[in-house]
Amino acid sequence: MIANPLAHPSRLSWWLETERSRSTLTSNGQKPLRDEEIDGVLVLGAGWIDPSGWRPDDLTYMQSETHAALLAWLWSLQCPVVNRYPPAIWYRPQAPLLSWHGLLQRSGLQTLRTLVTNVADEARAFGRLLAADGPDGVVYGALTSEARYLVTSEDDWRRLAALQRVTPVCLSAPHGEAQRICVVGDRVVWDGDPAPKTIGLEPALREFATTAGLACVELALAPTAQGVCVVAVETQPRLEHFGDCARKDIVGGLAELLTAKPETSHGRMRHGSSESRS
């Protein structure tokens, strides 16, 4: 376990030339580890830097440098890396669900009916449209935070209209209780038993993970008036979101991935190109 391979007490040196790439990693005074001696890497963060003692602009710079170096080094490794994040995900791990809509739908997964608008009348019309075949109300959530608010009463709508005077708002259909899923390699691990309607989504879930370039990704599915929809995508899955049985399955899947035969360099780069999310 290394918090940041590119900060004291660890030392990482990576040499890159047109014809070859090699690296050595030293940690905790242990013998230097050459890249070919690393069998697999599980990525749990992007290289943490202790902010104490840094000026804010210098800290931003050092974090950017560390993230940049770590991303590239992970891509240079021949061994399995879970996840070998494409840059678009590495630099925007908390990208809004909206940015996944296209890929989710092309993979065969439904997404929530969603509207972005700063026109109060359009928001109301959207609310009426949803109410015609589902529960009353819409869910408002800022694109850059995880907080969600149900808009149902007249007062809610008035406050939403006030907010729309300063920013477009993102509204989506209300949904029922979500079930967590982790796609890890070829496994689809459900937190609890999958509903009969959702078990058939496994091929689409695998397709989504593969196209996104993620060996391990967490999603949440929930029932809505239009059917089962994806209501969350977590590019950095968290075991604590799952029960004991699912955790064991996820860890088993990770172990399989990390001990698998290395991919070819060509296949890796093609797989993880930056268009994955669009």
Binding site: A7, W15, I49, M62, E65, P87, L98, L115, V116
Partner: protein, 321 residues
């Protein structure tokens, strides 16, 4: 209809707008300096995963399905006029929220977008780009990325003291020669990494790719980083250049690989005639090169936005996504 998203104070965006006018291509301008004030936006996602809706400006309304192309160049905080109801403290968070919505919209549009933000993310790691550069058939200089002072000293010696250092990310991105007096500061590397490269002598060549078109400019300057040559008292002279077909193809391959319809690719022609690639800029300030070389880069951008991406040797428009 073309949509330009940016700030008029940005000279590159201004150039794109004036070129669209010169070409007679109709466009609408979404001024990020003021957005969303003065605009009405409304879009939803269809079952196909494509956004559908409209953007309404001061005296125009644009349906998203009318779009033939989008040019987007996002602004920093300094280019924005905060909404009167937003406190200065909250303003950066609001700009992030505005841009996130626009980015999600542009990512999903089926027309050419110059450029989608996902494609540009690679520029935040020049070392990652170097891996792609190799795969696309261009040379990358011997490079060391490290936080180990001893490794730098060995690299410096191995490269016969001809080494430059520069940032790995897009921040503080100035190239400098590594001088003997700098070696005293190497222990600071314990806090984080830096990138060191063998100095490649030769002529700087800037390549702009616009879809399948390519414009190469040769830059004559004594400065290590010609972009800052004037600061160091060096003259910068540019002229159009012809580069080998194999290098052209590799540049086009690289831009396509990064999903960039417009890219600025930094090359160096070494004395032995080989070409090294240093980085790919997803939001290039091509005005500077166009002014110096008179190459019609902005016209190519305008054509791309109006007509889509045309494959070399054919008139067929290629789907972008």
């Amino acid at each position: 209809m073309i949509l330009v998203v940016g700030g008029l104070a940005d000279t590159v965006t201004e150039l794109v707008c004036s070129r669209l006018m010169d070409c007679g291509y109709p466009y609408r301008f979404l001024d990020l300096g003021f957005y969303p004030s003065g605009y009405q936006v409304n879009w939803h996602w269809q079952d196909s995963g494509r956004p559908c809706g409209y953007i309404e400006g001061p005296d125009w309304k644009l349906e998203l399905d009318e779009l033939t192309g989008v040019y987007a160049r996002y602004l920093g905080e300094e280019g924005r006029v905060p909404h009167s109801d937003i406190s200065p403290v909250s303003a950066p968070a609001m700009y992030f929220e505005y841009d996130s919505g626009l980015m999600a919209l542009l990512e999903g549009l089926p027309c050419p977008v110059v450029n989608r933000v996902a494609g540009g993310m690679s520029n935040s790691s020049k070392a990652y780009q170097a891996l792609l550069v190799r795969e696309c058939g261009l040379l990358t200089p011997p490079t060391l990325v490290t936080n180990d002072p001893d490794a730098v000293r060995r690299f410096y010696k191995d490269c016969e003291r001809q080494v430059v250092y520069k940032s790995l990310s897009g921040i503080r991105s100035i190239v400098r020669r590594l001088r003997p007096e700098h070696l005293e500061r190497l222990p600071l590397l314990r806090y984080g990494p830096a990138q060191f490269q063998a100095f490649i002598p030769g002529e700087n060549v800037r390549v702009h790719t616009v879809g399948d078109a390519l414009f190469a400019s040769c830059v004559h300057s004594e400065a290590v980083d010609y972009r800052y040559g004037a600061r160091e008292g060096h003259d910068v002279v540019m002229e159009p250049a012809v580069i080998p077909t194999g290098v052209e193809r590799a540049c086009l391959r690289l831009a396509r690989r990064l999903d960039l319809l417009l890219a600025g690719i930094d090359l160096k022609r070494a004395p032995d005639g080989s070409y090294y690639c240093f980085e790919v800029n997803p939001s290039p300030g091509f005005l500077y090169y166009e002014q110096h070389t008179r190459q019609p880069i902005s016209t190519a951008v305008a054509d791309l936005l109006q007509h889509g991406l045309r494959l070399r040797g054919g008139e067929e428009t290629m789907p972008v996504q």
